[in-house]
Symmetry: C2
DNA sequence: CAGGATCCTTGCCGATACTG
DNA sequence: CAGTATCGGCAAGGATCCTG
């Protein structure tokens, strides 16, 4: 059963799905300060399995948000970097962070009040 | 296993989770144009089960994003509306939509190119 | 009308082992 | 080093039935 058509396949939803994905956001944030290798990403983003990291990187690459550069050397070396589109998306994430920092106290207060009222 | 501590419980992640939730966003968008009843939301947001709708509404209420007003009449009538905090969040969603509309063509083109390269 | 309770499926994701 | 392949657990979420 599909959700409302006015939101199922619209551009917004696709972006929302990406934004809502934990690993994707973390990768984008990490790459915001420059190129990184696979292992660097894996080490810094603690808790991510090879499977999920690869899957996330492939998805971001497919969407044109990051580039994947394979250096034909041994041992292998693969670099990941944001495209300009990816940097643009990072701008959005920064906007979200600003909003979050500005309003998290209100949200926390609301939660506390709500939970107290349920007791 | 927790993801990177610098992102697990930070304000950004909590907002990201909310933004990434399909039903929450749809509810916020629907309430952006005014107060609506439970059934109105259920009918308009096609495909949502009573369970998920209630769960979503409770979550939004707990976070102080919407208000829930029970009218003591028969048959029951419950109105939902955005708080000012919820309206502020809606502003964020609008920003995402603008970005999505502006860049979806690039993303689509990247996907097509990527898929073609795999064949 | 506005949900609460229950059951049950599915698909996401983590852990692990293996390879060019 | 940079992945791929496979298995299994677990929780989100859908369908359904029931009630104040």
């Amino acid at each position: 059963m599909l959700p409302d058509a006015y939101a199922a396949d619209c551009p917004s939803r696709q972006i929302l799905n990406r934004i809502g994905d934990t690993w994707s956001v973390l990768v984008v944030v990490m790459l915001a300060d420059g190129t990184h290798r696979y292992t660097e990403l894996a080490r810094r983003i603690q808790g991510v399995s090879p499977k999920m990291l690869t899957q996330t990187l492939r998805g971001l690459e497919r969407d044109g948000l990051i580039t994947r550069t394979v250096h034909p050397v041994v041992p292998p070396r693969v670099d990941y970097a944001l495209t300009s589109l990816g940097q643009s998306l990072y701008g959005l994430v920064e906007g979200l962070e600003k909003w979050a920092e500005a309003h998290i106290d209100d949200v926390q207060a609301a939660r506390t009040a709500y939970d107290a009222a349920q007791a």
